[in-house]
């Protein structure tokens, strides 16, 4: 058992999978250059020394090339782990992901599969509107993709290893403020949670959420950074005698909706916190599921705590207005009581 940051846990997952299976390789921008940072957030640091630059491939600055090589290699039998430097650049790859990777297995009647992993950092870090988005909802909307969003070191390692072994394309969304990246790659205001990660082999199954904190008065669903904001909100609420239950879905597709419904059945109230813009967001889908399948258990309206429908601000002065934080979650919960 070792204490690790999420970046370290991801690195260990990649290392173990590359050692286990020769078909596994990494591809991305600046992920393997000697003396480099190990990608933008240090996840692949040192791996090119261990496995050679044939298995930790650096590419030109071309997301289309990364997606094309990864998808093609996966079709041909390899197990690529593609590094998307910033999740925002997924838009460059959109045709290859949405039209090709996601649909290939379905359209070939199962003759062709695309066992590719694509790791994409998301979240606002004051690097501007093109380096700050939370893109999960775009990809949960595309049938054929699996989407995971680990928020702890344990889950990051276990889910990434499951993703590598999955026969389907899996998008792994990682939050920039949760990596725990060190040195020049550290982020201002990062939460950098550290967690215990077993030394022995383990997997976290795709499709299972967890209850991070138990409570009886309100259910708060949060993922990635907002899961931590939800836990902070629960602490504040607990001081006032309000017991919030915090759920971390961990996997967005397929969603562990029974876990959420069971919690709402207990608490009767639901707040969904996420960093994406409000309209058409992932929170809206959770709200719709509960309104549809858990209506009779609701004792109050469903509330979403999301970013407003504006691009992420560069200005620190606007950060509070933009970011869903624990205080906004607390206010949302209180409006339901």
């Amino acid at each position: 058992m070792a204490e690790m940051s999420i970046a370290e846990a991801l690195r260990q997952a990649i290392r173990e999978e590359m050692a286990r299976d020769d078909r596994v390789f990494c591809i991305g921008e600046d992920i393997g250059i000697p003396g480099g940072f190990g990608g933008a957030f240090t996840v692949t640091l040192g791996l090119s020394d261990e496995f050679g630059r044939d298995r930790v491939l650096d590419t030109p600055i071309s997301e289309i090339a990364i997606a094309g090589v990864a998808i093609g290699a996966a079709i041909a039998g390899m197990r690529p782990i593609a590094d998307v430097q910033y999740g925002d650049f997924l838009f460059c790859m959109m045709d290859q992901i949405a039209n090709q990777a996601a649909k290939m297995r379905y359209m070939s009647g199962g003759q062709v599969s695309v066992p590719m992993v694509m790791r994409a950092p998301v979240g606002q870090t004051r690097r501007g509107a093109q380096h700050a988005q939370s893109l999960e909802a775009f990809f949960t909307h595309i049938p054929g993709l699996k989407v995971v969003a680990p928020s702890t070191a344990y889950d990051a390692k276990g889910l990434l290893k499951s993703a590598v072994r999955d026969e389907n394309p899996v998008l792994v969304f990682e939050h920039k403020l949760l990596y725990g990246s060190k040195g020049p790659r550290s982020e201002r205001g990062a939460l950098s949670p550290v967690g215990e990660v077993p030394d022995e082999e383990y997997l976290v199954p795709i499709g299972e959420g967890v209850i991070r904190r138990e409570g009886k008065d309100v259910t708060i669903v949060g993922k990635l950074l907002t899961m931590y904001r939800a836990l902070q909100a629960a602490e504040i609420l607990a001081e006032e005698g309000i017991e919030a239950e915090v759920i971390d879905p961990r996997t967005l597709v397929p969603l562990d909706k029974e876990l959420i419904l069971a919690s709402v059945r207990k608490t009767g109230r639901l707040v969904i916190a996420e960093e994406d813009n409000l309209t058409g967001g992932w929170a809206a889908e959770i709200a719709a599921i509960v309104a549809d399948e858990g209506f009779v258990w609701l004792d109050a309206p469903i509330k979403r705590v999301s970013a407003p429908d504006v691009p992420a601000p560069f200005s620190p002065a606007l950060d509070d207005a933009y970011m869903p934080n624990e205080h906004k979650i607390v206010a949302a919960v209180k409006s339901l009581l």
Partner: protein, 448 residues
């Protein structure tokens, strides 16, 4: 676009009905013509069909409520259509308005503000806003939402309000809303009610049981019993009959030996599955044929004129748990015995289980009532208005009789014909009865 759900006028004498249940919940899709709600009239329980297709948007009447005929009790909106304006206070029954006023008084919060602190429109003040969770619990516990104090967001009743209400009651009683209203209407104390099984909710049936056996003896030594609407209808019609008509009863002792033999022969010839004619069926058939020859016995009186019915529709008195009902065999004179038997048997079955429709209870032009099976010989039946006559049938029993000049044992029965002397005189009425007697004593003459 929205369509009003209106309680249909079912007869000219019916002012109000009791809503038994909604077959759809608010928000459910309904198809035009689909059964939408059930009402209890003084004659039967009836399914009322949806007047339009769409979504059951809102209902204003609750099960157990008495509702006025022609009152609007809900709205059906187009699927996906815009929300209709709910402005129906004038069309609604006075009772509903009173209930609303009471609700508004109980819910100052709900009446005060809506989302964003805006005043609620008047039609929404009338509604009780409760969370789905609170509604679910209230229904399960038999708690009337109107009695709750709202403490939730935007003046909404939430689960804790229901829990608080239950906790505030010394002996919380699990009772359905309908049963609760019935018990309250009858002035029953909650302690007087027992569920059918320990731990079960008290239902309407449990209340009925108590009402049936309630012994409320007043100071004058009289036991007063609550009655269903049908009892009052029977009372009203019987008194109206006695007061309005000039009733005379003719009685005749009839030799039914041939009738008994005829029925035996008919039964012998039947195949498995054929309807088995009763004496009542054979009598309906005989009487219907004689009514064709005696139109004044198949008539009515409007105070000035005699109305001769074009059809011969024979009503048959049936003793049910709810009281006396008279399902109608239409055009009985034109039907073969087996067809008539099958039809009457089906009507009686529906009358007994309470599923008979109003159409089958109205439109009779003559009535037959048979007390023979209970052991009665002769009686003075009361005319079923607005008809002219009713035939009472006594039991068939072996009796000493003179037949072909010899004393022997014959099957005998009494017939009692009550008629309205305003419409038909004694002699023609007697001839009508004797024509019936002749066909009973010599059934083969039916072909003449």
């Amino acid at each position: 676009m929205a369509t009003d759900i209106i309680v249909p006028p079912l007869s000219q004498t019916m002012d109000s009905v009791v809503l038994v249940e909604w077959l759809k919940a608010e928000g459910d899709k309904v198809a035009k013509g689909e059964p939408l709600f059930v009402i209890e009239t003084d004659k039967a329980n009836l399914d009322i069909e949806a007047p339009a297709g769409g979504v059951l948007r809102q209902v204003w009447a609750q099960p157990g409520e008495a509702i006025a005929v022609r009152a609007t009790i809900g709205l059906i909106a187009d699927v996906g259509g815009e929300l209709p304006e709910f402005e129906r206070p004038s069309a609604r029954s006075a009772a509903a308005s009173v209930a609303e006023a009471a609700v508004a008084a109980l819910h100052p919060l709900a009446a005060a503000t809506g989302p964003m602190g805006q005043p609620l429109p008047p039609e929404r003040q009338a509604r009780i806003f409760a969370s789905p969770r609170a509604r679910r619990l209230a229904e399960a516990e038999g708690v009337p939402l109107a009695e709750l104090t709202a403490s939730g967001p935007e003046g909404m009743i939430v689960e804790r309000d229901v829990i608080a209400y239950i906790a505030s009651k010394p002996a919380p009683m699990a009772i359905t809303p309908v049963a609760r209203r019935l018990a309250q209407a009858a002035g029953l104390e909650p302690a007087a009610l027992q569920p059918a099984r320990p731990g079960a909710r008290i239902t309407r049936a449990d209340v009925d049981v108590v009402l049936a056996r309630r012994e409320e003896v007043s100071a004058d030594g009289v036991q007063w019993v609550e009655v269903a609407p049908i009892r009052r209808t029977i009372a009203r019609r019987m008194v109206a009959s006695q007061q309005a008509a000039a009733e005379v009863t003719l009685t005749r002792d009839v030799d039914a030996t041939e009738l008994v033999e005829l029925r035996g022969q008919i039964l012998e010839e039947l195949s498995d599955g054929d309807p088995r004619p009763t004496y009542t069926d054979i009598l309906v058939s005989i009487v219907a044929r004689q009514l064709a020859r005696h139109p004044r016995a198949n008539a009515t009186w409007d105070g000035e004129r005699i109305g001769l019915y074009a059809d011969i529709n024979v009503a048959v008195a049936v003793d049910t748990e709810r009281g006396l009902v008279t399902p109608v065999v239409r055009n009985a004179d034109t039907k073969g015995l087996l067809a008539l038997t099958a039809e009457r048997a089906a009507l009686v079955r529906q009358a007994l289980d309470g599923t008979i429709g109003l159409d089958d209870l109205t439109g009779g032009t003559f009535t037959i009532t048979n007390l023979g099976p209970i052991g009665i010989d002769a009686f003075t039946p009361i005319i079923n208005p607005p008809q002219t006559a009713i035939l009472g049938v006594g039991r068939i029993r072996p009796a000493a009789a003179v037949h072909n000049g010899e004393l022997c044992i014959r099957q005998r029965m009494f017939l009692s014909l009550t008629f309205d002397h305003r419409i038909i005189d004694g002699a023609p009425a007697a001839r009508f009865l004797m024509d019936i007697v002749r066909l009973i004593e010599k059934p083969h003459l039916v072909w003449l």
